[in-house]
């Protein structure tokens, strides 16, 4: 099936070359970082993680969210997802790859990365994160590929793949729970040290992932002959809507706990993010946009006519995705480091090389995603009916 990526329209090639150019720019920026050190980023001794780890955290969620498609289909036989299960699995593959790359570009001594395997340390959560992420990557590659191959042959998927599908479903939440444990087990970082972190991670993942899938399905439908199906898109939107509400709820629980208890150290980060602390307000505009996007997302996804009309749906899905990206990809990590252990404020803002590297890694993800979707769409364009006898191809 791999040969399918080599045959495409002019538009396909233009997009692939565009992504490769961005990857090239990111790579050059990374060489610069490799030479000079992480000093070229906006990170500091006080805010020692930034955009990279934020992207990692956010993308683990996107990867885990494949389960919102796979679970209804394989466990509840929700037929409408038959066509897009593989779309979810392939999104997970691209996301996990990006996660790994973001960890890699964040390392001060990347050549030593294998020390994690050479000196396995089970008391470090990072150890488990490595296991669950690589396991999840392998599971999704296996399931996605085997099922798509079966579809190409016009045969039902082999029986032996079933246990792997069920394992993958159980595995998906684990990657995000473990990622939350990286944060929520640290003493002295009050913004992160909350038991609801893992739950909030999962809920925001199950809002942002389906929102992205809505957009991706629309793109696939527009540019290929494969139709993921209107109903599948609507169900994705509903999943996203519920989990967006849950996420906002969880965030408000945090706010209640911090402010009703009146404990200052639990309030500082929240005050910094939304109002600014000691006159430092760099992230306030980010959070204002975040609130605005959340409002747009909620209004569109919750109101049935707005959700059903696909123009507004696209806007609502994009707003939801961006809002959660700002929250988890930037403010969560940076906010946790402010104020520092001395209750002083040192701010963070990404630099240009850091941003270019980040764009480069995202481009790698979209590059892989494009190739995988190209394969999937081409296979599905040929299989006119799916195994439930529903039309796959636009007429």
């Amino acid at each position: 099936m791999l040969e399918l990526v080599l045959k495409g329209s002019q538009r396909y090639w233009a997009w692939v070359i565009f992504l490769m150019a961005l990857i090239g720019v990111g790579f050059i920026a990374y060489l610069y970082q490799l030479k000079v050190g992480l000093g070229i980023t906006g990170m500091s001794r006080d805010v020692s993680w930034g955009l990279y780890i934020g992207q990692f955290t956010f993308l683990v969620g996107v990867a885990a969210s494949a389960v919102t498609v796979v679970l209804p289909y394989y466990l509840h036989n929700y037929k409408k997802y038959g066509r897009i299960a593989v779309i979810g699995e392939f999104l997970a593959i691209a996301s996990v790859l990006m996660c790994m790359l973001f960890i890699f570009v964040d390392l001060g001594q990347p050549m030593r990365v294998l020390n994690v395997l050479l000196h396995p340390t089970p008391n470090s959560i990072m150890f488990y994160d490595m296991i669950v992420l690589s396991g999840y990557l392998i599971l999704n590659l296996l399931c996605g590929w085997v099922i798509l191959t079966a579809e190409k042959k016009g045969a039902p998927p082999p029986k032996w793949i079933k246990p792997f599908l069920y394992i993958a479903i159980c595995w998906a939440p684990s990657i995000h729970i473990v990622t939350a444990f990286l944060y929520q087990g640290l003493p002295g970082r009050d913004y992160w040290m909350t038991a609801i972190m893992a739950a909030k991670f999962l809920s925001s993942a199950f809002a942002s992932g389906p929102a992205l899938l809505v957009i991706l399905c629309m793109i696939v439908r527009r540019f290929t002959n494969f139709d993921p199906g209107k109903e599948a898109i609507q169900t994705l939107a509903k999943t996203s809507a519920y989990f967006l509400l849950v996420t906002i709820g969880f965030y408000l629980f945090e706010v209640f706990t911090a402010f009703y208890s009146g404990i200052p150290s639990h309030q500082y980060s929240i005050i910094y993010l939304f109002k600014g602390l000691e006159g430092y307000t760099k992230l306030v505009p980010v959070m204002s946009i975040c609130i605005l996007l959340a409002a747009i997302g909620v209004i569109i996804l919750v109101t049935p006519p707005l959700r059903k009309w696909e123009v507004t749906l696209a806007i609502g899905a994009a707003a939801t995705f961006l809002c959660l990206w700002l929250e988890k990809g930037i403010s969560l990590v940076v906010g946790g480091f402010i104020p520092n252990p001395f209750d002083k404020v040192f701010e963070y803002w990404p630099t240009i090389p850091e941003t270019l590297i980040t764009i480069g890694v995202w481009s790698v993800g979209f590059f892989v995603l494009t190739l995988l979707y190209k394969i999937a769409a081409t296979v599905k364009e040929k299989a006119i009916f799916d195994k439930y006898g529903e039309k796959q191809v636009k007429t």
Binding site: V36, G37, D106, G108, Q109, H119, T121, M126, P187, G336
Partner: protein, 260 residues
Amino acid sequence: MRIDRRQFLKILGIGAFIGVGGWSMFEVVSKREIEAFVERYKKVPEALQAKRWAMVIDLKKLDEKIMNDCIEICHRIHNVPALLNPKEEIKWIWKEKFKYVFPEMKDEYMPEEIKNKYVLVLCNHCENPPCVRVCPTKATFKRKDGIVMMDMHRCIGCRFCMAGCPYGARSFNWRDPRQYVKEENKEFPLRMKGVVEKCTFCYERIDRGLPPACVEVSKGAIVFGDITDPNSEVRKILASNFAIRRKPKLGTKPSIYYLL
């Protein structure tokens, strides 16, 4: 000579057995030898011994000059680079105002001279160190005498320990530190970019029978000793004085005590 398939497999099997067995024997013996060697030379007769090292810093005896002397000698003998940008500063021991070192004690009616008094801060060498717990490569670990050590040659630079440390005691080499080391002490390793470093309680001096350098130049303001030994000086001071530790509620159990 012709050999049939059966003979060939036999020879192959015997060969593999001897090869694998012999190789593992070699491995075991050499590992044992190394361990015996280490055991023999591990205990330097003059090395200071303790179950858990601790430090008592007397704020009444600390003055500007003593603090600067402590910082100067520590940073000089450990080749700590003089990076001036506060974003990238490397600090093993440094001065910080009381109100920032003990933020939970902040009180508007506290005397100004205490609130703004400078205090020496360094790695707390916690009994229950979060940095050791989170390190994915054991690059930071606890010695038998309680010193929280840093293997700067194993560190991958993930900075999980910096997020884990509630005392801000860890520094990262955001760029190559070598050009910022004014005069190099050839007896202590230089670091490279991309690794974390911090105070190591002068393990290299303790193992040669000397107290940490800051203790030596502190004119009695810093007392160092084994906190598990009831007859040690630190224990005597703690038994008869009110001492505080940084952020005790976190359960990290710092080994650095402060006398007000």
